[in-house]
């Protein structure tokens, strides 16, 4: 390479085809959505004009604030359940046992099942008078309320069921990327198997695991069918409220809710970058 540094304009021109296309593809719908939330643009419908009315509704009506809370609650709980199941599962899959190959294929099945199918399958399984309650009835037990229940157990179960394979897949990969020899070294230097896991394997697998957490959390905030079918009628998560606003043809409200949902995701993404830059990077990153 010669010493000439390309100047800013050259760089901008060179970037234009790629970045410009991205900006068009992703930017236009986003921007028009955000405009729409202020009652502007084509999508805004009849009640046009720059207005904060929809935001006033979102932030004024307890339904929507409860909706935001519910969205975050469903997402966080689903991720928690994912982790509790996926980490041991990933560890088990890292060992050899009889039938591991078969198991390795089976656990990925939920990846191929659409959300709406999961929702209705869970409904028939968990509802009062459903499959599980009848089985329990045979042995003289009664099933607590798991569908449309105040704690959203059915919703969380369905979301987790759908996301666990995805999470497990990523975590298995992250664990496998930690060289076996490092675990041997940890043991040789006095670590019990548990401590070798906590002090060496887990920190080195962390970048992968946090990325998985983030992705499945953001997926669940957008999940609509599962909370609609399995959730209680109040509070509803933002995704369902957004759909209701759509049924009412209240376009500015649809866009306002969407904007809030998006902002929440962005905030989470940003705090992820912030936290990983602060915690993971100085600790070595291990981003192999």
């Amino acid at each position: 390479m010669k010493g000439d540094q390309p100047n800013g304009r050259t760089i901008a021109l060179l970037l234009l085809p790629g970045v410009g296309l991205l900006a068009l593809l992703f930017g236009i719908p986003l921007v028009s959505g955000i405009f729409g939330s202020f009652g502007l643009g084509m999508g805004a419908g009849r009640n046009a004009g720059p207005t904060l009315a929809s935001y006033a509704k979102v932030f004024g009506d307890p339904r929507y604030l409860a909706g935001l809370r519910t969205t975050l609650y469903y997402g966080a709980m689903a991720v928690l359940v994912d982790l509790v199941v996926a980490i041991p599962l990933a560890l088990a899959l890292g060992r050899s046992f009889v039938g591991r190959k078969l198991f390795n294929g089976l656990y990925k099945i939920p990846l191929a099942v659409p959300g709406i199918v999961v929702a209705f399958a869970m409904l028939t399984l968990l509802e009062q008078g459903g499959f599980l309650s009848r089985v329990l009835h045979l042995v003289g037990l009664s099933l607590p309320r798991l569908v449309r229940d105040p704690w959203g157990i059915g919703v969380i179960a369905a979301m987790a069921w759908k996301d666990i394979p995805f999470m497990t897949l990523i975590i298995v990969g992250s664990f496998a990327a930690v060289p076996e020899e490092l675990l041997h070294a940890a043991r040789a230097f006095g670590a019990s198997p548990l401590r070798a896991f906590l002090k060496v394997r887990l920190p080195l697998a962390m970048p992968g695991i946090t990325a998985a957490i983030l992705l499945s959390f953001i997926r669940s905030t957008g999940s609509f069918v599962i909370p609609d079918v399995l959730g209680a009628s109040y509070p509803l998560p933002l995704s369902v409220l957004m759909y209701q606003a759509f049924r009412d043809s209240n376009w500015p409200l649809v866009y306002a809710i969407g904007t809030v949902l998006m902002l929440a995701s962005f905030l989470i993404l940003l705090s992820y970058y912030f936290l990983t830059a602060r915690i993971v990077a100085p600790a070595g990153g291990g981003g192999r």
Binding site: L182, H184, A185, F189, V200, L204, G284, G286, R288
Partner: protein, 345 residues
């Protein structure tokens, strides 16, 4: 009972035997080297001692206790891994402190030991760095320091100096030995560098193809090896067939020379370069085909009859030029190998 006793230790993998049943006793304070070509089972041997590979059979006692069924963290053994195995998410300091923390060594003691190891391994400027910010040699020194700070009953080194330049290797060799003597620790050191093995060890265990070939002091193994393998692997040698009788042997080129055995009949001899002095002589039995000037000595390649051998001489005078005819003067009785049968190929 010996400080470390190994009895019938063996390891088989699905498709091969990495270590045939092996016995070895190591005394407290001994520095033992496992020497052998690549793939002969040295690492496998060490890993079983450390407890990170499960033996297929045999028993190990260390400091009076049987340890072969103990998990590695319970054994008071530290190891320098061939691949270094530094923890990439910990700084150099974090790596050095890892084992001490795990073994709950008091803080002040931790600091003392780490400071000392940092000094002797020349790690001062790097303590805050992450392993990936270090060169291979620097990483190796961290791996070395990490093991040294443990002050264990047994220290295992898997080729710890293989990646260093000659000078640093020399320094660390000395440091390792000094440290070894002062701590009074017992060490098992794996290498395939015969100079390292000879200069450091109290005893050398020569291995080949998963078996211990021979065990002895560097002097004994060099001067009086029992097997061809040892003779060839340790230092330079020329193996020749000869006919022995009455303490003498007739060499292939017709000369008679004294041998160190009363054997008679066909024998295999190991001729070290320093056993023979080449001397300019127009009627000599050999012809110099070339030489290597090493500073402290000159190694001559001599063709005697149809045997190519190496003879050394002190380098005080100008080397004998190639093409000169030389007489071969015997300086010491030539060594008769145990496994004399067959051709000395």
């Amino acid at each position: 009972m010996a400080h470390l006793r190994i009895a019938g230790l063996t390891k088989s993998f699905a498709d091969a035997v990495a270590l045939h049943p092996t016995d070895l006793d190591v005394e407290q304070g001994e520095f033992i080297t496992l020497l052998g070509p690549s793939g002969c089972g040295k690492s496998t041997f060490l890993r079983m001692l450390m407890g990170i590979a499960a033996p297929s059979g045999g028993a190990i006692w260390l400091a009076g206790a049987r340890i072969d069924a103990m998990p590695p963290e319970k054994r008071n053994i530290a190891m320098v891994f061939q691949s270094y195995a530094l923890f990439p998410h910990l700084s150099v300091l974090g790596n050095l402190a890892f084992g001490l923390k795990m073994k709950k060594v008091p803080k002040a003691e931790q600091e003392r030991r780490i400071a000392h190891a940092v000094r002797i391994c020349n790690l001062g400027p790097y303590v805050a760095r992450m392993p990936r910010q270090l060169s291979g040699g620097q990483q190796q020194r961290v791996a070395l320091a990490r093991a040294i700070v443990m002050e264990p009953d047994l220290l295992l080194f898997d080729e710890p100096l293989s990646n260093l330049d000659a000078k640093l290797r020399e320094t660390l060799r000395e440091e390792l030995l000094t440290l070894h003597r002062r701590v009074g620790g017992t060490s098992i050191y794996v290498t395939h560098d015969q100079d390292e093995a000879m200069s450091m060890s109290d005893r050398i265990v020569v291995m080949n193809e998963g078996r211990v070939v021979e065990t002895g002091t560097p002097f004994d193994l060099y001067r009086a090896p029992r097997s061809r393998f040892t003779a060839r692997f340790l230092g330079r040698t020329t193996l020749v067939d000869a006919l022995a009788g009455k303490g003498m042997a007739r060499l292939p080129w017709g000369q008679m020379m004294p041998i160190d055995s009363a054997a008679s009949g066909p024998v295999a001899l190991s001729i070290r370069p320093e056993d023979l002095d080449p001397a300019l002589d127009p009627d000599g039995a050999g012809v110099v085909t070339g030489f290597q000037f090493l500073g402290s000595a000159v190694f001559y390649h001599v063709l005697a009859g149809d045997i190519r051998l190496t003879a050394s001489a002190p380098a005080r005078e100008a080397p004998i030029p190639a093409g000169s005819r030389v007489a071969l003067i015997s300086r010491a009785p030539l060594h008769v190998l145990d496994d004399s049968a067959g051709a000395a190929s």
